[in-house]
Each structure stands twice: as structure tokens, then as C-alpha cells.
Symmetry: C2
Subunit: 307 residues, 2 copies
């Protein structure tokens, strides 16, 4: 039934997966890149000032550049969702909703997805004032009031961006201080129209047809407080997209991240990983790129030694 065996299948087409694909192609390997979208979290990033070589860009623009790079090599991602990875002797079966593919190696570069608050109104008002993508949606809130929920770099970046667009930006942070790059935190705190609320647990997002406000528990006073806002941006962390890898394989840590060494290898021969889905504690585009390249070159080496 399965006629073709691939040299490699890359799962995911964001920074890590695209970088791996470019290198597999340059090595003339027979591979697929399967992804449910292009750019992943990169595409949802706001202003990007830390991908070396691009002094200033943004997620949409940088994704376009990566896509252009892929198209130059005539690499066309397959738009399918991978649901299960299985072993088949020394090979792998990659199962999507409609197909099964056989391959000698796999590079997992599926990234991670934004965590949900799981509060009333979050789902109801999604795309009606609730967003997980500041760069996509903040420009819709010119001179409006928004709340950004979170306390790390994504929240910092969203806050800085929002300060330039919106009339007022609240940062709702459950912790007693902001985390992330100090330079960003200082920039955020210097903004006149940004107000950081600490020790604040979001309880509810409410409205009628569109978001009208947000309620939070002030942990220092134990009071429920209410802010009138037009939009809510949620930046509370990321969950690795690794569910399709069986837990029994023992390649994931307690957070679901894939454990790799400096060559992108997992403890299963032929299974590699790169980018935000791995246990490298820093989730950065430039790191995903480096790991995607290493994985691809290690795939090439693995295949040539395997014969």
C-alpha cells in the first residue's frame, strides 16, 4: 500500500522546519515537509529585533522571507495535520488525518502553541476582541484600551507595541514582577500609557457582541476588580506540539518537550527535533534556525552511514 519511502519527513514549517528543508534540498534528499500552517509562532510574533541580520522586522514579514527562501528551492509543504508517529523496524510511519507516509528519518519542528487562560469569555470572544497575536490584531485597536495578560517577553513586546497604537494598555500579570529581557521591561515601564497590574489573576472576559471588559482577582487585597477594555491579548506561555509522539518512546520531558542533544538527536535513531518543541530552554527564532540546520545535516550523515 505504501509505495514510497522518503529519506526524511520534516513535521512543521516554521523557522526550524524551513531551515531543515533548505538544507535537505541542498543535499538532494527525497523528503516531505508536512505542516498545518507556515510560520507557526514566528508568524504571530510582533516586532522582531533579534533575528540576526534583520535589525528590525516582524513576524509576518520574516515568515514571508522564509517562505520565499523555501520557494526558491521549490519546496512545497504538504498541508496536513500529523496525528501519530509510529516505528516500522528502523523506519517511521507518519500518520496524518488522511494519509500514511513511510520515511527513514523524521525531523520534528512543530513548535509550540499559545496557552489558554481557560476563563469565561475567552473562547466566546476569540476574534471578537480576544487575540493571541498582537502583531496581527493590535493595529485594529487604534486609540482604544486593551489589556495584555502575561508577564514575560511576549507580554513585554505586546505592551510596547500597544503603547504606540492604543490610548491605554494594561498589563495583567499574576506575578509580583515582569520577567524577560531587562531592556524590554525598562522600555515598557517608561511608557506613559502603560499600566502594569501585578498579582492579578484574570477571572473573566465579558461583553455583548464584542469584548467590553475584563475582571481579575487582586491577590494582594483579595478583591475582584474590573477594567473597561476593548481588547484582550493573551501572552501566558506556550505548549509544545508533541502529542503525536507516543509517550512510551521516552523522548519527551515532563512538559512534553522533546529532549535533544547538541546535534538535534533524540534517543531514538533517526528521530531528530529542532526549535521550540525541544527542551532547549530558550525559544528563539535564531535558535530554531540553527537547530533545523544541524538536524538536516545530521539526517544526511545518518542516511549516508546507514547506507
Amino acid at each position: 500500500m505504501i509505495k514510497n519511502i522518503y529519506d526524511s519527513i520534516i513535521i512543521g514549517a516554521s523557522a526550524g522546519g524551513i531551515s531543515a528543508a533548505i538544507y535537505l534540498k541542498r543535499n538532494n534528499l527525497n523528503f516531505l515537509i508536512i505542516a498545518k500552517d507556515i510560520g507557526g509562532e514566528m508568524a504571530l510574533s510582533g516586532i522582531i529585533e533579534n533575528y540576526p541580520g534583520f535589525p528590525v522586522t516582524n513576524g509576518v514579514e520574516l515568515t514571508r522571507k522564509f517562505k520565499e527562501h523555501m520557494e526558491k528551492y521549490k519546496i512545497q509543504p504538504l498541508n496536513e495535520k500529523v496525528i501519530l508517529l509510529e516505528k516500522d523496524n528502523s523506519n517511521f510511519l507518519v500518520k496524518t488525518e488522511n494519509n500514511v507516509y513511510l520515511t527513514k528519518t523524521v525531523i520534528v519542528a512543530t513548535g509550540s502553541t499559545p496557552k489558554k487562560l481557560n476563563v469565561p469569555g475567552e473562547e466566546k470572544f476569540f476574534h471578537k476582541g480576544v487575540s493571541y497575536c498582537s502583531v496581527c490584531d493590535l493595529p485594529l485597536f487604534q486609540n482604544k484600551v486593551v489589556a495584555i495578560v502575561g508577564g514575560g517577553n511576549s507580554a513585554n513586546e505586546a505592551g510596547i507595541m500597544g503603547s504606540k497604537i492604543c490610548k491605554k494598555v494594561y498589563i495583567i500579570n499574576k506575578n509580583p514582577e515582569m520577567k524577560g529581557d531587562k531592556i524590554l521591561i525598562e522600555e515598557l515601564k517608561a511608557k506613559q500609557n502603560v499600566e502594569i497590574i501585578y498579582n492579578a489573576l484574570t477571572q473573566e472576559i465579558y461583553g455583548y457582541q464584542f469584548v467590553e471588559g475584563i475582571k481579575y482577582l487582586d491577590k494582594s487585597t483579595n478583591e475582584i476588580k474590573d477594567l473597561k477594555v476593548d481588547g484582550v491579548f493573551i501572552h501566558i506561555g506556550l505548549k509544545p506540539n508533541s502529542n503525536f509522539i507516543p509517550d512510551e518512546w521516552g523522548v519527551k520531558n515532563e512538559y512534553g518537550e522533546i529532549i535533544i542533544n547538541q546535534l538535534g538527536q533524540t534517543k531514538i535513531n533517526g528521530l531528530f527535533a529542532a526549535g521550540d518543541v525541544t527542551n532547549i530552554p530558550h525559544k528563539q527564532i535564531g535558535i530554531a534556525v540553527g537547530q533545523g540546520i544541524i538536524s538536516a545535516l545530521e539526517v544526511a550523515r545518518y542516511l549516508s552511514t546507514k547506507g
Copy 2:
């Protein structure tokens, strides 16, 4: 005598070092970046088609982009040559030809330098027809005849570039086949004006005021052969720039490469490395970038846990 202690000193200002510097700056750390040049081997690269996000660029152009990125953050490399690294309790002394700097951490990103053939005429005709930088110097050889000595990716790339500029390109390869990316090798072999000479050991580069020819030993016939060429480009490998690190520290392998783990750590606390100077077998700009970023973020973490 030494008044100041830095959080970190980055040695080297090419892809890895500049990436590290951008991230240290974003973390508001007090650091120096010391380098004898900017861009290192990256600046000497020909056409670059594998730094993700830049479908086509070249070494000069990409170095300019990295420099621009660094200048945006007001990072100014110190133009000195590091001659020795010493330990000073838990800190490090970085000794240059004229100064000594004290620092809590060090990121070594010094890259590697081209290997010499060590044949008569190589030194005499340097910059008079002999070059280690195809992208800088091939354009000077419009409609001329050049020899490229080497058998790997750099030689492949130089050959392809040369085929578009020169009348004739010889590749002088001591091995019986070309190594490196198959896609490049195929492209090179398809060029009408490129002739690959295998099993050929370069003996001498000769001329009067300028290169006029090259002699090699044909290992299959044991004859010395002579080619009339106007230029010789040498691409026979790289030597890691790690001499200033004491061998007794045991952080280098037999090739002089610095041994790192996936977090850029060496076995000495506070000493990190990134890029071509490390033992990662693949020497690529995108990999150096990823490792530079990881090292910088690990420096930040090391300093915050060290207090």
C-alpha cells in the same frame, strides 16, 4: 590596576559573536566584544544561499547586515587581538596585546581561519593573484583563467561563482571526488568552463610580478603538470582560532575545537563557545547564530544564579 569587572566578554565578531552581543545587550549586561575584524569567515564567503531568511546574499552583504544590526544596539567591537585567557578565581582575565580585562564570563566565538597550502609562491603572490576569498577577488578575474585548490563546499561555491566570471576555471582536488552538498557538486560539474582535476597535489605557484601558473603532481601518473593561470584561489579547510585558550584546561579536542554541549557550555563554569570554533561538525552561519544566542542567554542565566 583592573578597576572594572565585566559581566561578559565576547571574543570574535562574526555570526556567533554578533548574535551573542545583540542578546547580551537586550539583557542589559555590561560586556565587551573584542575582535580583530568583523565578519570573520562569513565576510570571506561567496554567494550565500543558506542563511534562512536571505534567499540569496553574499559574505560582504550579510556581514554589512550583521554590522548594521549591532550598530542599531550601539555595540562597538574593540579592535584588539586576544593572546591569552587566564582564570582568576571564578573570573577570567582576557589578555590582549596591550590590555588586560577582567570578566565573570567569556563567550569564545573566534571562528576558524583558512588553511595554507604551504607551497612555494603562495605567500609571495598573496594579493598578487593568490587569494583565500573568492567573493572578494574573483570579480577581478573577468575573462581570465583561474585555479581553485580544494575539494569541498568552499571550492564548489568558488567554482560556480568563477564559472560565471572567468573564461576558464580549474578545480585542483587532491582527492578522487568532490565532497560537500550534492546539489552544488552537480551544478559545478554541469558548468562548461569548469574542469575538475582529481588526485592533484599542488606543488608551486609561480610568476613574475603576478601569478602566471600553478604546478601540481598528478598522483595517478606521478607526473608534474603545469597550468597557465592568472589567479589561484585556495579553499582547503579551516583551522579553529583557539590558541589563546590554555591546552591544560582540557576544553579543546584534538583539532583544537572547543567542546560544547547544547547550551554552549564548556566544562569550565562561565566559559561558553559558539560557532565554527566549536566541535559541532557543521560549520554554518545559521548554526553559529543559534549557538551565539544560546550562549548569551546562558550567560544571563549563569550571572543571575551566581548573583
